[in-house]
Every structure is written in C-alpha cells, then in structure tokens.
Amino acid sequence: MKISPDRIRTQILVLVSMAASLYCQSLFAAAPVVEIEIKDHLFFPSEVVIPADTKVKLLIRNLDPTPEEFESYELNREKVIGGNSKTVIFIGPLPPGEYPFFGEFYPKTAQGKVVVE
C-alpha cells in the first residue's frame, strides 16, 4: 500500500495537535490558579471554592505593608508572605470538605477557608 505524502502530513498534524492539546490539558490540570489578596489583615475573597482531587495554585498577594503568614492546619500549609509582595502555595489534590486557613500574624481578622467540591 502506498501512502501519499498528503496523508502523512495530515497524520503528523493530527499527532502534533493531539500532543499540544494533551500538554495544555496537563498544564491546566496541574495548576488552576486561584488568587487571594490580603488587605488590612483580611483575606479577599475569604472563601475560595476549588474542585475536588485537583492540584490548585494559590497566588496570594499581600497588599499590606506588614508581613503575614498563611497557615492552615487542615491544608498542612505554612508560608510567610512579606509586606507588599506576592507568593505561590500549591494545595491539593483534596477530598471534598472545608479547609480553614488564617494569617498567623493577625489571626483575629485574617480568616478564610478553602471549600473543596
């Protein structure tokens, strides 16, 4: 059987686009980004909803001039965020449920939770 060059080209194109879409999917699956801001020692939003069994990238911006520490016993996470700076924290994959977090430096006001659905 003779395979035409056109057919090979189509097949290569299909393969490349499949690989590209798989790659994009894996990138997307690896890290949907959720943004949280800290302002006046409060989290905005104070409640974020993320999908179950998925790794999520939390992008946290501290708009206060003072440092804060993101902490959660339920998520097993702890990280200092300097004043007027941002940071990244990966969470999950997690089973459905509620996972409270707080700012260890200002725990009275800086309270929030991750809701996994």
């Binding site: 097993n76 990966f90 994959p93 200002y106």
Partner: protein, 268 residues
C-alpha cells in the same frame, strides 16, 4: 494581640529550646562542655536576622518556592547533624571503656561542632519568623507594647520548658541516661525530615497525595497538647505518606548511627 504573640513566639521558641536542651544535656554529661552553646546562639541570632531581612528575595527564588526550598535544606542539614551528634556520642561512650583519651576529645569536638551548627540553623529558621512577625509592629505603635510583652512571655515559657527538660535529662536514673536523649534526638530528626518533605510537597517538588490518616478528631493540631506534640515529635493530624516515610527514615538514621558506632567500636 498580646495572647497571639505569646502563642506565636512560644511555638517558634519551643522547637529550638527542646533541641538545645537535649544536645546540651549530652555534651554536659559526657564531656562537661557547654561553651559551644553561647557561640551557637550568637551565630543563630545573626543568621536569623539576616534570613528575615533577605526573606523577600529568597521567597522569589525557584518561582516563589525559595522559602520552602531553603527551609527544607535547613531541616535536612539539622537532621544530618543530629545523626553526627548521635554517632559521636556513642563512639565516645565506647572509647571510655579503656580507649585512649585523645579519642574521647576528638568525639567531643565532632559532637560540639555538629551540635553548634544544628542549633544555629534551627534558630535561623525559627528566629527569622519571630523577627518578621515583630517587624510588622514597628510601624504600628499602638500594638508595639503588648506585642513585645506577649513575645517576651512566649519566649520565656519556651525557654523554661527547655530548661526543665535539660535538668530532667541530667537527673535521669542510670539506665535511662543514654536511651532517653537518643530517642528524643531520633524523634527530632524524624520530625525534621518529615517537615522537609512537607516543605517540598508545598513547593510541588514532591507530588502531593492524600493524607494517610486523619486524627484531627482525637487530637487537633491546634490544641495545646497537639502543639506540644508537634514541637516534640512532629505530630501531624493529617500526614501524607511521604511525610511518614521521611519520619521513619530520620528516626532510623539516628538509631542506626548509635548502633553502628557501638558495634564497630566493639569489634576493633
């Protein structure tokens, strides 16, 4: 503000205080040496200030994972230094039985050097967090006084527990004098390696898996007893499998180094 600063500084102080008391109890008992501690405390103090000041830059390393990576490296180093300390302690105990005194001295040097570095690194990690916390209040004069009082109280309570443990270890009855410090060091090393694994999971360098168990209903991590157990043995209510494996490796390395030091010395 006051109560929060008591708790925060207490938590940070306790872990370093426990490590210091165990290492100091061994070096005092075995070789009557304590001079390493003030040197180590001073170096740790300076390093923690420096780490706090450079935290902003460090945080941005490795796509904002610098903090996790540096902490994990510090924790792994502390774990390894504890293994050296244990090895030197048991070697020295072996040469005591008819060995030559220069050997005794050599192991004392290895122990005190490793202990001094381990303590300085532990203080660097914990102390930088205290400095960062306090730095936020320099700009808010109305909170400054309660925060300083609270932090001093928290520091005082942490140090007191360390002092109690130190004297407790010195007054142990004969059979327990060696075993108890060794097991405490083993648990501490396990804790360090498990925390390092957690840091690398947080940085996404180790892939995350679901918790191996959930004991938060029995003993919540944020309870007083949970906090104490966290500092002492690295208690986690929801640890991952990697953390548990890391913990077991840390414990095994310390106990293994004690066994190896004892065995080889006997054969020679």
């Amino acid at each position: 503000m006051l109560l929060n600063s008591v708790i925060l500084v207490f938590q940070e102080t306790l872990e370093a205080a426990l490590l210091i008391s165990v290492l100091l109890a061994i070096s005092y008992r075995q070789w009557s040496r304590t001079a390493w501690l003030p040197v180590s405390l001073s170096v740790g103090f300076v390093l923690s200030l420096w780490y706090a000041l450079t935290m902003g830059a460090v945080s941005e390393w490795f796509d904002y994972m610098g903090q996790e990576v540096v902490n994990a490296v510090l924790q792994i180093l502390i774990m390894l230094l504890i293994v050296f300390c244990t090895w030197a302690f048991f070697k020295s105990r072996q040469v005591e039985d008819g060995g030559d005194p220069s050997q005794h001295d050599r192991f004392a040097r290895i122990f005190t050097f490793s202990a001094a570095v381990a303590v300085a690194l532990a203080i660097t990690r914990e102390g930088s967090e205290i400095f960062l916390y306090l730095s936020g209040f320099f700009q808010q004069s109305e909170y400054f006084q309660p925060v300083i009082i609270g932090s001093s109280l928290g520091f005082g309570i942490g140090v007191s527990i360390g002092v109690l443990l130190f004297y407790g270890l010195l007054n142990l009855p004969g059979g327990w004098r060696v075993k108890v410090p060794m097991y405490l060091l083993a648990l501490f090393a396990g804790n360090m390696l498990s925390q390092a694994a957690l840091q690398l999971t947080q940085a996404d360098w180790i892939s995350s898996a679901q918790a191996l168990w959930d004991s938060s209903g029995w003993l919540p991590e944020n309870s007083i007893f949970g906090q104490l157990l966290y500092a002492l043995v690295g208690y986690e209510a929801t640890p991952s499998g990697v953390q548990v494996i890391a913990y077991v490796i840390g414990v095994t390395l310390v106990i293994g180094s004690a066994i190896v030091a004892t065995r080889i010395a006997k054969n020679v």
